[in-house]
Amino acid sequence: MDISTLTIASARAAILERRTSAVALAESFYQKIEAADKQIGAFLTLTRERALAKAAQIDAIADKGDPLPPLAGVPIAIKDVMVMRGVRSTAGSKILSNFVAPYDCTAVARLEAAGAVVLGKTNCDEFAMGSSNENSGYYPVHNPRDLSRVPGGSSGGSAAAVAAGMSVAALGSDTGGSIRQPASFCGVVGLMPTYGRVSRYGLIAFASSLDHIGPLTKTVNDAAILLKHIAGRDPLDSTSAEVPVPDYEREIEKPVRGLRLGVPREYFGEGLDPEVRAAVEAAIQKMAQIGCEVVPISLPHTRYAVPTYYVIATAEASSNLARFDGVRYGYRSPQAGTLSEMYRRSRDQGFGAEAKRRIMLGTYVLSAGYYDAYYLKAQRVRALLTRDFEAAFQRVDAIVTPTSPTPAFKLGEKCDDPLAMYLADIYTVTADLAGVPGVSVPCGESKEGLPIGLQILGRHFDEGTVIRLAHVYERARSG
């Protein structure tokens, strides 16, 4: 069996039909990881013992002939910002290099309860802050499609693990594009659900009003399957919404004819790579052929999205990261005579450059004298950005754009210019600010063979329409 092309659907069929066992499947993936991950760097921690125990449990059920759970034996990878009991959970940061979590993240627990086998924890930018994975406190991830290039970020390890066939699927997190942008760079599917759709209990917080958990997969169908299992109200996360969860596997089969697709002109302006533009425009044309109605629209405040995001996200990050003080868990500097020295030196030595930059910016915009000018101002513009979407969704059912202005860039290319790096998120941050769901689905390649992603955004809690469109497009493109 060629495991590199396995999907959730085909892996679970193989186990159901006893063509392989869950243990054998997990072992094959560990062999693949051992062979391939030295060059890629997608994993930070392997959870072999827990994976094989879970797989053995699945095989025992199968041996007895009892009904198997829906994700029985499906190998998945988890971004290292989600905690698992008894497993080192670093969030890509040195400050948590020795942190072994005492409880399970709800999304991970739900997948395991459905029978999934967690292979390991994937590399990411420190505290999910970055667009290239170069901010990992451990080592950068290399794009499996071209090892000299970044996989995107911050869920670059999850995207690379799936793209390289080292995992069938993965969970990532998205605060400003961190699922969709790496999915686009690595040529996989990345889905950010609506804010509130998936519990964040056990997600190490970056910016709480913007953080989302979602799947990275090889197909849209697989994204629908994972979403179905992780979605829904969780009493342990008060921001998880009490909204009924549809059966997304059925949702994607519904017809798309007559759906109205908005194409916002602001997403096709200066800075968009011509090859990305051509691929996305061809994809939109294809969707018109399938029967969607293409409607030119405007999201007039788009040029304010990145600055709004970097004020709000850093403000929330500075507050969330205040908890890392060397007292209760995480790194403590040994060179400290007093408590305040211990706080400062633990944080100084534990955080990397980007985390410090964002803590500083966030502290500044919240500080006396600047709160109104920056933080409140950004919150007001956030309302305007959200109204742009509300107005657009009066007229259209979904919005299609490029996921990222360029294909994957070279490692080191943007390291010295934080602003240039922030602009890699220019088409993704607005959905996080407005809380709407979005997917990135592969829509072509550059001349150099680098993947290009099409982004589809939808109304709040209408992931069904988003993935249905992505699914139909995916099928039309391959077929």
Binding site: E242, G330, L361, V381
Partner: protein, 114 residues
Amino acid sequence: MSDNRQPITEKDVLYVAELANLELTDEERARMVKDLNSILDYVDRLNELDTSNVEPMAQTSDRYGIDESKAGTARFAYAMREDKTGPSLPREVVMENAPETDGAFFKVPKVIEK
């Protein structure tokens, strides 16, 4: 540099670092002055917008996914829970991650400084 903003100085960086409980090396501080100014120049773009009649928006979850048939806090009834104690992590499990502990408490360097 925009006309209406005082640039961030090394002194500002020192002050903010203190608020954030960071020390920063000389080199990091110099770099921070440059980076923060470059980012804030870009953020100044927000001042092009008149937002005097726009309410600040802290969350999307206070607008979507709520029970719109109800008013006030009843709209968020799903987020409420009974005020009763439930199980929490055992102390010894929590202390396994403590940098320094006597088993019952977290130990820290001396708190009162001269």
